[in-house]
């Protein structure tokens, strides 16, 4: 029988993973939806965010200060990448974009090794977040993961207000619906693209720096999360922030619950040797199964951008 305390615990874990995915997916879905650019290097920018946070922490000794410096630094890097590399790709086919941005992945993975060496870097938790919080039901949860949830929700609110209530947001929405028309109306599309890409990069950098204390900061750390992020934006509907948020939480919860409970459930149904062989494989496949189902029955995604 599934214990309610464990279920609540895993729900929190799922939410936290979902929030992390949302920070990545928000940027990727905007870039894809508005600029029609497939950016495989989004995970690399996440990695750079984590590395910069580690470097700034080594320099300033404070995680918060490092975070405050790493986000604008990643944003700046994103703007440079957009101007130097990506601008040349907007009019090209998706395959060219995939090739070029895949090249960027190789470039960044090697660049961080050259700058920071092959060893994984250490990012310390800020002292006040290094403990655990006790919740009702006897749940003991790491404080830092609560902080991630809080920051993620704040970013979601900020993005909602930005996109629904401001002039920039209006342009972004218009861009997602009909890019050519926005350009024809005299909006500086070039500037809009740079701004959107910079925003996406800053969010990826934020995700990366928040992952630093939990994960190993190493070359190639962006790829596993990049794959999950693509799953999220496909399920959520490309170009939709709301879709990215809901799909990220959905994927976070499904992935966590699958990993936590599927092997046990299979063991109840089949003999242990089969369950042990199939369980872990099926648990890590679960989100791809969900993605395949969404693609088959609702190819535009569960929560597509309005009017798209």
């Amino acid at each position: 029988m599934i214990d309610p305390q464990l279920l609540a615990f895993q729900a929190l874990n799922g939410l936290q993973l979902g929030i992390m995915l949302f920070l990545m997916a928000a940027g990727l879905t905007l870039v894809f939806g508005i600029m029609n650019l497939i950016n495989l290097a989004h995970g690399s920018l996440y990695m750079v965010g984590a590395y910069l946070a580690a470097a700034f922490q080594g320099w300033t000794g404070s995680f918060l200060l490092a975070a405050l410096l790493a986000v604008p630094a990643t944003l700046l890097l994103g703007v440079v990448v957009e101007i130097v590399v990506l601008r040349a790709l907007y009019e090209r086919e998706h395959l060219d974009q995939v090739l070029a941005t895949f090249g960027l992945i190789l470039f960044f993975n090697e660049a961080v090794r050259i700058v920071w060496g092959p060893n994984a870097l250490f990012v310390a938790l800020p002292e006040f977040l290094s403990g655990q919080v006790e919740l009702p039901l006897g749940i003991i949860y790491p404080s830092y993961r609560f902080a991630i949830i809080a920051v993620g929700l704040a970013v979601a609110l900020f993005l909602y207000l930005l996109i629904a209530r401001t002039r920039v947001g209006m342009l972004i929405r218009a861009g997602a619906t009909n890019r050519a028309m926005v350009g024809a109306l005299g909006v500086d599309v070039k500037l809009l693209y740079t701004a959107v890409f910079g925003l996406g990069t800053a969010l990826a950098g934020l995700a990366g720096l928040m992952a630093g204390p939990i994960l190993s900061v190493e070359s190639g750390m962006g790829e596993p999360i990049l794959i999950l992020t693509f799953v999220v934006i496909v399920i959520g509907g490309i170009g939709s922030i709301r879709g990215a948020f809901l799909a990220a939480v959905l994927i976070g919860v499904i992935d966590t619950m699958g990993r936590a409970f599927l092997p046990g459930l299979l063991r109840a149904a089949f003999n242990p040797s089969i369950a042990n062989a199939v369980g872990p494989a099926l648990a890590s496949m679960l989100i791809y199964v969900v993605m395949a189902l969404v693609l088959a029955f609702r190819p535009q995604g569960l929560f597509p951008a309005r009017g798209a």
């Binding site: 190493e218 750390m221 936590a260």
Partner: protein, 385 residues
């Protein structure tokens, strides 16, 4: 790299009197990607091993040809073929990962070139497919895990929880662990390879309340797991035991989260024998980082090759003489007692280690011998005498 070979060749020409030969060693390891740090540790250890023999191997001037297998069996195989056919190397050494080892093993031993593994030791090579051209200065893959199983059994731990990545080495690790552990295995959890986040699994294991946790999470996976386990506040209530998870290659990234965790290995940095003390002191001085088990293994590879060449008086065509000399293992291993089994794997001790902070540095310090003169379980399947 070319420059280095040229320089070595030029130096050889200048320095050696007429008629003196050189010895060519192909060093295949993983130098790029996340596993690249392991290759670097191996290579640095190997080169220090040569330096400590006066820059020679058994009186011959060594040329070390460094090849990156990129953690890909096919790339490793190409590198091996190039070394054998074009460079005509006398020995091949290095090899971080078992899948690369399995790819290059046949062609290397079929060419009757001695293969000295500095790390990988998959079970087929230790058993039925053993070869008179293979020797290892590391360990058979199961044994560090088997040693931890024995330690927890001896310690009287009743209920243990096991975790590993879902691939062959992960399954072998837990099989090795269970060889000597006879208590209750509460659960055996396999996670996706390179999974970044373990919060779901940690919550489940917390609810299962085992007496101890044993994991095998090499490289970045180990960094992620150990940090998250400590952040969940569990290191004190459910002690963490592991192999290849907390070591000199990962501990800097794990930080204080690694303190108080235990592992098993054939070598620890504080082993009190003169060979080891010299190795550790000079390694720190030369490379300015902490030596790992990987560096120690490759250091011994260089020592073993040097001793064998010396025994045959530099006559590299004398394969039988070389083999007899390898078998004797006439060198002072940094691990202390060392001899070869019939399958070319060492018979050696395994030690428990604990990660502590000492003088500001995180170190894995020895906490006693777990197994003495341990021979691997596969040697009985090897037809060699």
């Amino acid at each position: 790299m070319k420059k280095m070979i040229l320089a070595a060749a030029a130096a050889a020409l200048l320095a050696s009197p007429a008629g003196a030969q050189s010895v060519k060693i192909g060093f295949i390891a993983t130098f790029s990607g996340p596993g690249g740090v392991l290759g670097q540790h191996l290579y640095d250890g190997f080169m220090l091993g040569i330096e400590h023999q006066g820059g020679k191997l058994g009186g011959l001037t060594p040329e070390v040809l460094k090849e990156d297998d990129q953690f890909k069996p096919d790339v490793g195989l190409q590198a091996a073929q190039k070394l054998l056919q074009r460079d005509k190397v006398d020995f091949i050494s290095g090899i971080v990962f078992s899948n690369v080892m399995m790819a290059i093993y046949k062609p290397v031993i079929d060419s009757q070139t001695f293969l000295i593994s500095s790390n990988a030791g998959p079970s087929p090579i230790a058993g039925a497919q053993c070869s008179p051209y293979f020797f290892s200065t590391a360990w058979q893959n199961d044994d560090p895990h088997a040693a931890m199983g024995k330690h927890l059994q001896d310690k009287g731990i009743k209920r243990v929880y096991l975790m590993a990545p879902n691939y062959q080495a992960g399954k072998d690790a837990l099989t090795g662990f269970k060889r000597y552990f006879k208590g209750e295995v509460v659960d055996e959890v396999y996670t996706a390879v390179n999974q970044p986040d373990y919060s779901a699994e940690i919550a489940t294991l917390r609810a299962a309340k085992p007496d101890a946790l044993y994991v095998f999470y090499p490289g970045g996976m180990g960094v992620n797991f150990v940090k998250q386990y400590a952040q969940a506040g569990l290191t004190k209530t459910i002690p963490l035991y592991s192999a290849f998870t907390v070591d000199a290659t990962t501990v800097a990234a794990q930080g204080d989260a690694a303190i108080g965790t235990f592992g098993t290995a054939f070598w620890t940095v504080d082993l009190k024998n003169p060979a080891n003390q010299k190795f550790v002191a000079d390694f720190r001085k030369k490379y300015n980082y902490e030596p790992s088990t990987y560096a120690a293994q490759a250091y011994d590879s260089a020592q073993l090759i040097g001793a064998a060449i010396k025994a045959v008086g530099g006559k590299l065509t004398d394969k039988d003489g070389l083999r007899a000399a390898f078998k004797k293992a006439d060198f002072k291993s940094v691990r202390g007692p060392f001899k070869f089994n019939t399958n070319g794997f060492p018979i050696q001790n395994y030690y428990l280690y604990e990660t502590v902070r000492e003088n500001g540095k995180l170190l894995e310090l020895g906490r006693g011998t777990v197994m003495t003169d341990q021979a691997d379980a596969y040697a009985k399947d090897c037809p060699l005498k």
